[in-house]
Amino acid sequence: MKRKLISLCTFCIAATLTWGCGDQNEPEEKFTNLVWSDEFNTDGPVDPERWIFDIGTGAEIGLPGWGNQEQQYYTDRPENIKVEGGMLHITARRESFNGSNFTSAKILTRGLFETTFGRFEASIKLPFGQGIWPAFWLLGNDSNGTVIWPQIGEIDIMEYRGQQPTVIHGSIHGPGYSAGNAVTDSYQLNNARFDTKFHVFAVEWGPDYIDFYVDDELYNTITPADVGSNEWVFNDNTFYIILNIAVGGTFVGPPDDGTPFPQTMLVDYVRVYSE
C-alpha cells in the first residue's frame, strides 16, 4: 500500500513536470530521471570533467584511419572544438596537419560517464558535403582492453553522410553483426534537411530492446530477434558517449574539391535519462 502511494506520487510529480513544459520535447515518460547532461553553456574548451579527447589519426593506438580509412587528424584545438554561444562546435577543416589533409575533433565520456540502459539524446544541427561523416554514438566498455570490438557493442544513435542531407542512420554493432553487417535502419526527412536546423536524435535502451528516435518519432526498434543466433551484447556492459566528425572513410567516401570547408556540427545539448 505504501509502495503504491509512493509510486503514485512519483507519477504525479512527473505528470506535473510534463504538463508544465508541454511545449518542449520531453522524454517519453519511461525515462524521466536525468542522470547526466552537458548543456554546453560555458564558453571555452569542453568540460574536462565530462569529456576526454581522442587525438591523432588512430595510428597512435594501432588503428590508422580509426579502422575506417578516415582521413582526419583529431585535435583538441579551439579551431576544431569549442563551446560558444550555448553550443558545442565540432569543426572539420581542410588543412595540412601532422601529415593529414584534414583536421576535426572527437570527444568521449569514457571513464567519466558510463552506464547501461536509458534514454540518450542530443540536439544537433549537422554539417553537409561529400565525405563529411558526423556521428553521435555509444561504445561499450572494453574491460581494460580484454574485450575487443565488436564484442564490446556499439550503438550508433545517429550517423550521417554529408552528401545525403535528408537522411540519418541508426545502427547497432556486435559479434557477427558489425561494420557492413550491422543492424541498421535509416530515417529520411520530408521537406526538411538535417543541416539547416536542429533535430533531436535519441535512443531509448532497455533490456532486450533499443528504440531509435528522430524528433521523438520512433522509427526503429532493434531486439535480440534482429541479431538472430548472434549474441546480444547490450544487457550488461556499460557504454560511453562519443561525438565526432570524421572526414572521408568507408561509410561516406572521400571529400571532393566541391566539399566546402570548414564544416561545423553544432550540439545544443546531450542528455541521458534513466528510468
Binding site: F128, Q130, R161, D195, T196
Partner: protein, 481 residues
C-alpha cells in the same frame, strides 16, 4: 501564336532593342506615376512552357543565330498531352547561323517571381550534349538579373533540371523568363527538347554559397584613377539529393563593399575605382550570405605614365600602345609551359593600358596564328618602355628579342639592358626605353613573336620580379619625321 513567333523570329536585333527601349520608357513612366506606392500587381504565373506557350511569352532569337532553331514539337513531350520546345542546333559553319540562341520574354509587363526559388524543366537531346548557357533574366532590356547555368549536361532521356534563383526578392517584375545559347557539339549540330518549363518553390535547397573572383583572394596593384571589375561571379546551392548546382548570376544580385573607401570604391555593378593610396579589400554578399573570394587593392598612389610616343603614325607599326592603333595580337602572354613562371596582372590607369608581368622569368607576345604576322621590312627598330616598380636586384638584366619566321628558318634581333653596366640602365621607379635595332635581320617580313626574358641561364637576378611594359612598337628611324 506560331505566326506571331515566326514574324518575330525574322526581326533583326535592332528592332527588338528598339521595342525594348519603348517598353522601358513606358515602365519608367508607370513607376513615376505611382511614386511611393507598390508596384501594380503582376501575375505570379509560374508557367513558361508546359504544353504550349504561356500567355504573354514571346520568342526573340539572337542576331546572327539560326532563326528557325526553335519550334514547337508535338511528337516529343513529357507526358501524353501537348507539346515540347524543340531546339535544332546547327552544324559548324551553317550559313543561316552557326549557333542557336534566344530569349523568351513576357511581353505582358512581367511576372512576380518572388515566391519561387528555381526555374525547372525537363530536357533530353539526340546525343549527350552540354548547353553552353541556359537560364533566365535576359530580357534585352539591360539583362539586369541574368542567370546562366553553364555547360548543362544533357542525356538522351528526359531528365529534370534545376536553375536556382540566387535571390528571388528582386524578381518582382521579371520579363526575361528563359534564355539559352548553344553551338554545335564536336562540330555537329544536334537537337534538344525542353518541356514543363516553369518556376517552382523547391523544398530542401540549402547552403547557398555566393562567390566572387571564383572564390579566390585576389591581390592587384593599382593607382589613383585606375579601375577594375569584380569578376568570377558564382552561386552554388545544395539540393535535397546532396548534389550542388552552380550558376553564374549577374552582378546586380550582389551587394559589394570596400573596407576602405578612401582607397577604393565599388559601385552596385561591381566597378572598382581607386581613389587614394593604401590598401582596400573589396568583398560581397548575396541575400545576406557573405561571398567567398575578395579583391585586395594595393594602391601605389599616383601613377607615372610612360612618355607618350611622338613618332608619326605613318612610320610606326604598333603592337601595344594607347598612342597608336595597334595591329592584331594573338596574346601578350603565351603562358609557355612548362618553364614559364610569368603571370599577367595587366591594368589600366586613366585610360592608359599597361602590361604587368609578375613573377617574371620570360614571356612571349605573339602575332602570327589568328592574326597576320607583321611585315617589318620598312621598319628599323623595335622599342618598348619598361618600368620596374620594386628595387632592381644587383646584376639584373632584361632581354628583348623579336623573331621572324617563328618555328621555321627563324631569324631574330636582340637587345639587353643591365642594372649595372651600359646605357640605358635597368632602374627602379622610372620608365626606361629599350630599343632593338632590327636592321641586321636578313628577313623581317614575317615577324611573329617578341620575347622578354630575365637574361641568361646564369643570370637569375631579375627572375621573380614585377615588370610593367607599355608602348611596344616598330618604327622607321630613317623616315623624314
Amino acid at each position: 501564336m506560331s505566326i506571331s513567333m515566326k514574324n518575330l523570329a525574322s526581326n533583326t536585333m535592332k528592332r527588338v532593342l528598339a521595342a525594348g527601349v519603348v517598353l522601358l520608357v513606358t515602365v519608367t513612366a508607370c513607376e513615376r506615376s505611382v511614386d511611393g506606392l507598390s508596384q501594380p500587381d503582376l501575375t505570379a504565373n509560374p508557367e513558361v512552357f508546359i504544353n504550349s506557350f504561356s500567355p504573354g511569352l514571346e520568342y526573340y532569337p539572337y542576331e546572327g543565330s539560326l532563326n528557325n532553331a526553335f519550334s514547337v514539337d508535338t511528337d516529343n513531350k513529357v507526358g501524353n498531352r501537348g507539346a515540347s520546345m524543340r531546339f535544332d542546333i546547327p552544324n559548324v559553319g551553317d550559313p543561316n547561323g552557326a549557333f542557336a540562341g534566344a530569349i523568351f520574354r513576357d511581353d505582358f509587363g512581367g511576372r512576380n517571381l518572388t515566391s519561387y526559388n528555381a526555374l525547372t524543366f525537363y530536357a533530353k537531346a539526340t546525343r549527350g550534349g552540354s548547353i553552353n548557357d541556359i537560364g533566365f533574366g535576359q530580357d534585352f532590356l539591360g539583362n539586369q538579373y541574368e542567370v546562366s547555368r553553364k555547360n548543362l549536361q544533357l542525356t538522351t532521356n528526359w531528365r529534370k533540371y534545376v536553375i536556382p534563383i540566387p535571390d528571388a526578392s528582386v524578381l518582382d517584375e521579371s520579363r526575361g523568363l528563359f534564355w539559352y545559347s548553344e553551338g554545335p557539339e564536336d562540330g555537329e549540330g544536334y537537337t534538344f527538347w525542353i518541356d514543363d518549363l516553369k518556376y517552382e518553390a523547391i523544398e530542401n535547397m540549402a547552403q547557398p554559397r555566393p562567390s566572387i573572383f571564383n572564390g579566390e583572394a585576389v591581390t592587384q596593384t593599382a593607382f589613383i584613377g585606375s579601375s577594375t571589375r569584380v569578376t568570377g561571379l558564382g552561386y552554388t546551392i545544395n539540393q535535397a539529393d546532396g548534389q550542388d548546382v552552380t550558376i553564374v548570376p549577374s552582378s546586380a544580385y550582389f551587394t559589394f563593399s570596400s573596407s576602405n573607401p578612401d582607397v577604393a570604391t565599388v559601385d552596385v555593378t561591381g566597378q572598382v575605382s581607386v581613389v587614394g593610396t593604401g590598401e582596400a579589400e573589396i568583398t560581397a554578399s548575396l541575400a545576406g550570405n557573405v561571398a567567398t573570394g575578395s579583391l585586395t587593392v594595393e594602391s601605389q598612389g599616383e601613377f607615372v605614365s610612360a612618355p607618350t610616343p611622338t613618332r608619326d603614325p605613318a612610320n610606326v607599326i604598333s603592337i601595344f600602345s594607347n598612342a597608336y592603333d595597334n595591329v592584331g595580337v594573338d596574346f601578350y602572354n603565351g603562358f609557355y609551359e612548362p618553364f614559364q613562371t610569368t603571370t599577367s596582372n595587366d591594368f589600366e590607369v586613366n585610360g592608359d593600358n599597361i602590361l604587368a608581368y609578375e613573377n617574371f622569368n620570360f614571356v612571349g607576345i605573339e602575332f602570327r596564328t589568328n592574326v597576320p604576322s607583321i611585315d617589318g621590312t620598312n621598319m628599323t627598330h623595335l622599342t618598348m618602355d619598361v618600368f620596374v616598380p620594386n628595387e632592381v636586384p644587383v646584376g639584373s638584366s632584361l632581354l628583348a628579342r623579336i623573331v621572324n619566321n617563328v618555328g621555321g628558318g627563324e631569324t631574330s634581333a636582340t637587345a639587353t639592358i643591365f642594372q649595372n653596366i651600359g646605357s640605358p640602365r635597368l632602374v627602379s621607379g622610372q620608365w626606361v626605353t629599350l630599343v632593338v635595332d632590327i636592321r641586321g635581320m636578313a628577313d623581317r617580313s614575317n615577324l611573329g613573336q617578341i620575347i622578354l626574358a630575365a637574361d641568361g641561364d646564369n643570370n637569375i637576378a631579375f627572375r621573380g620580379q614585377t615588370l610593367w611594359v607599355d608602348n611596344i612598337y616598330l618604327y622607321n628611324a630613317d623616315a623624314a619625321n
